[in-house]
Amino acid sequence: MTLATFVVLLAAAVLYTYRLCVGPSLADRAVALNGLLVVGMGAIATHAIRYRTGAFLPTLVVLGLVGSIGTGMVARFIEGRGSDG
């Protein structure tokens, strides 16, 4: 069951990576990076379920905080730069 979860998360990561490479705008890439971060959080949670170990769970908290800060920084950068592309 957790193996299927990993496979579904892998498919989502492939789709996000496609959007990250294709773009076309910087905001698109920021969205794709945020999605990849969500996939990483899901993978850590699935790993904890599969092996019944909570060793990596504090990383989840850090990822949840840092990822949003990164997206907000990119947003401020786009606003200050004044260009959509």
């Binding site: 069951m1 957790t2 299927a4 979860t5 579904v8 998360l9 498919a11 989502a12 990561a13 789709l15 996000y16 496609y18 959007r19 705008s25 905001a27 698109d28 920021a30 969205v31 794709a32 945020n34 999605g35 969500v38 996939v39 959080m41 899901g42 949670a45 699935t46 904890a48 379920i49 019944r52 909570g54 769970l57 504090p58 989840l60 908290v61 990822l63 949840g64 905080l65 990822g67 949003s68 800060i69 997206t71 907000g72 990119v74 947003a75 401020r76 786009i78 606003e79 730069r81 004044g82 260009s83 959509d84």
Partner: protein
Amino acid sequence: MGELLALAGSVFVLLAAVGVVRFDDVLARMHALAKASTFGVLLLLAGAIVALHDANDVTSVALAALCQVLTSPPASNMLSRATYLVRLRASEARSPDAPSPSA
């Protein structure tokens, strides 16, 4: 039970990824990501809470879910606001009734 919740959550994350790839505008993509993937990762973390038994692990996952709920919507809001404002400025610069710089 926890594994089933995690699988359902990962399906929602995949649906968000499909939306991010297939929608044709930044704001539409952000809409897909902000709602579906937040719900998906919440389901995944709920699955982890159900599956794990140590109180230390459960509180870590609950704190991560709280952080995700509190910080993901403002981040998406900032990004969409920046995109909207930049486009608004560009369209104002293009519109014919805007005051010309020489006037």
